[in-house]
């Protein structure tokens, strides 16, 4: 039994150590796997803010992941073909700059989360799950049926976007960038969780009636959390698209929403680094089990079932002593 802070350091230390060792052993593929884990962890940390801290079981976070991905795909594809996004009423050009892309991804996914959240948060419980799932599916079908950006086939970007002072095509440099983003996001979410906002959010999760009674506008509070959560997941989507240099409607699919949720449950709900551990374990399972059998999802399903039924705290919960309330 360890204090959670120690476990967090351990998780992040491991995630940093693996690619460094891989670099020394000249195994670029492992660095890419670690990068994927770091990027997916960002998506999980985003969802965990709504799901763990706020108790909002969103089964539609693929929507923001996808919007972030397409923000990158659309901007970069215009830059790559030297055609402007639009000319009238004012000129908007594509870009290959990650910083601009990230900003657009965050703003766009926050806007979508604002719309979806404003509607979904009128409901609660099972309705909320079904409604978020449905809106995610809506964007999936939209991405498939809109032919301008590849439709069902998606978009390929030939060269990874640039970041000032880095060669992003070098696996270890790109990993470092993604890891730094993950650290910044973790730091910000940790601050947020401990702020009056985060405490109120958690309070409304534990007892909505009581939060209302002390004068908290629960709807506005949850909507704010939902938008921030969506924006973080959108940023992860932009990074994920850059990692693969490819975006497709799959990023919007309900399976993606499910996977982001699985990271959280494997790592531990409402734990700061739970999604990081969960994403890393997921990538490890995908790599190891996927190598053993084409049908590795059967094993993943069995493991997930076991964790949900018998080991509720996930990885971090199993190692840590601090109890946290589970989302309801």
């Amino acid at each position: 039994m360890l204090p959670e802070r120690m476990i967090n350091l351990l998780i992040l230390g491991l995630l940093l150590a693996v690619p460094l060792v891989a670099l020394a052993m000249d195994e670029p593929f492992i660095i890419t796997l670690a990068t994927k884990a770091a990027v997916l962890a960002v998506a999980g940390v985003g969802l965990n803010l709504a799901l763990g801290q706020g108790g909002l079981v969103s089964f539609g976070h693929a929507a923001y992941f996808g919007v972030g991905g397409y923000a990158m795909g659309i901007l970069a594809s215009h830059a790559q073909s030297y055609t402007p996004l639009m000319e009238a009423p004012f000129l908007i050009e594509g870009t290959k700059s990650m910083l601009v892309i990230w900003l657009v991804a965050i703003v766009a996914s926050a806007l979508v989360a604002l719309l979806v959240g404003a509607l979904s948060l009128r409901t609660s419980g099972v309705y909320f799950i079904m409604v978020t799932l449905a809106f995610g599916q809506m964007l999936y079908y939209f991405a498939i049926s809109w032919p301008a950006y590849g439709g069902e086939d998606g978009l390929s970007i030939y060269v990874r976007n640039g970041f000032p002072g880095l060669n992003t095509l070098d696996p270890i440099q790109f990993f470092g960038l993604c890891f730094a983003v993950l650290l910044i996001v973790l730091f910000a979410v940790n601050l947020l969780n401990k702020s009056p906002f985060g405490l109120a959010l958690n309070g409304a999760h534990q007892n909505e009636e009581r939060a209302r009674t002390v004068g908290i506008n629960v709807y506005r509070l949850r909507l704010t959390a939902f938008v921030i959560s969506g924006a973080i997941t959108g940023l992860a989507g932009a990074l994920f698209a850059d990692l693969n240099r490819f975006v497709s409607p799959t990023m919007f699919s309900w399976q993606t929403s499910g996977e982001i949720m699985v990271f959280i449950i494997l790592g531990g709900v409402a734990r700061l680094c739970g999604p990081v551990a969960g994403a890393a374990v997921y990538i490890l399972l995908e790599h190891v089990l996927g190598g053993l059998s084409e049908y590795w999802h059967i094993y993943l399903g069995a493991i997930l079932l076991f964790v949900v039924l018998f080991a509720k705290g996930g990885l971090v919960g199993g190692l840590s002593r601090r109890e946290v309330r589970h989302a309801g």
Binding site: M130, A134, F135, L300, A302
Partner: protein, 305 residues
């Protein structure tokens, strides 16, 4: 667009709606009685379709295939209720979502393992192939018409089962107060398994009937599951009447939207752009409908608060 084509599309919409009803009825029943959100309902739909295709291929009889679909979906339903689902009744919705998501992964991959990745095909039976002439000289597929009639018959049967029989009385009592009916001597766990198997059989029936129109493949269940969720959100959870109304509404909106929107847009845009915008909007129409219902009646058309 001719009026005959329009009527044909309305019938197609009805047929789609009736299919959605079979899915949504099971989901809403299971939620109403056990308070459980079951994502694996789409897997039971898929199991029904595969059992029908395999059964019909082995015996050469569509009806036997249909029976195989009903029994295997009900059996798998009872099996997962006994092993996994009943551990989830006391859990929160997040656990239910994740555990049933795990079941989807297991069922989908196991089906892929047994049947391979290629889709199977189920032929419509000889006595239902071809078309029938409806009043007004409209030619319509016999099979699709049969689906509409079967679906409506199931709706009536379900309504009678719940409002007129002893089992139905227990189901309604279970929705109101599960502890009390346990105290009155009803074996709740048997009732729960029965309700779950009934819902599973309805999903299996739906999958088998659709299997003859579309290809039978892994992953066919989840898009329908999500549409059934939209139906439930529109109709109101726990209400069979709401499920029927919601399903018909969604079926008609989706089918007519796909036919009419491109035509509508073509009246003031150039044809290729109209097709693009029209079909993209049509694919989102039912979700826009759902958003509208959420704005004005968040508990659904027939739901209580």
């Amino acid at each position: 667009m001719s009026i005959i084509l329009l009527i044909e599309q309305i019938l197609n919409g009805l047929q789609f709606g009736v299919m959605l009803f079979l899915m949504a009825a099971g989901l809403t029943l299971i939620f109403g009685v056990m308070g459980l959100i079951n994502l694996a309902h789409g897997s039971l739909y898929m199991i029904g379709a595969f059992a029908a295709a395999a059964g019909a291929a082995a015996t050469g009889s569509f009806v036997l295939g249909l029976i195989a679909a009903l029994t295997s979906a009900a059996l798998f339903g009872a099996l997962i209720e006994l092993t996994v689902i009943r551990r989830l009744y006391a859990r929160d919705h997040l656990d239910q979502v994740l555990a049933t998501f795990a079941l989807i992964l297991i069922f989908s991959e196991a089906t892929r393992w047994v049947f391979g990745s290629f889709p199977l095909f189920l032929d419509t039976p000889a006595f239902l192939s071809g078309t029938v002439t409806l009043p007004g000289g409209i030619l319509y597929s016999k099979y699709r018409l049969a689906i509409i009639l079967i679906g409506l018959a199931v709706a009536v049967g379900l309504f009678l089962l719940i409002s007129r029989t002893r089992v139905g009385m227990r189901i309604r009592a279970g929705e109101n107060d599960r502890e009390m009916i346990g105290a009155l001597g009803v074996d709740i766990s048997v009732l729960y398994t029965m309700v779950f198997a009934l819902g599973a059989a309805l999903a299996g029936l739906s999958g088998a009937l659709v299997g003859a129109i579309q290809s039978v493949e892994v992953g066919m269940g989840e898009p329908v599951l999500i549409l059934a969720f939209v139906v439930i959100v529109i109709g109101g959870i726990g209400s069979i009447k709401g499920a029927l109304a919601g399903a018909i509404l969604v079926g008609l909106t989706d089918t007519l939207g796909r036919t009419l929107l491109p035509v509508l847009f073509a009246s003031f845009m150039d044809p290729s752009a109209a097709t693009t915008v029209g079909s993209a909007l049509a694919s989102m129409l039912i979700y826009i409908l759902m958003a509208g219902v959420l704005l004005f009646k968040p508990t659904g058309l027939f739901g209580s608060a």
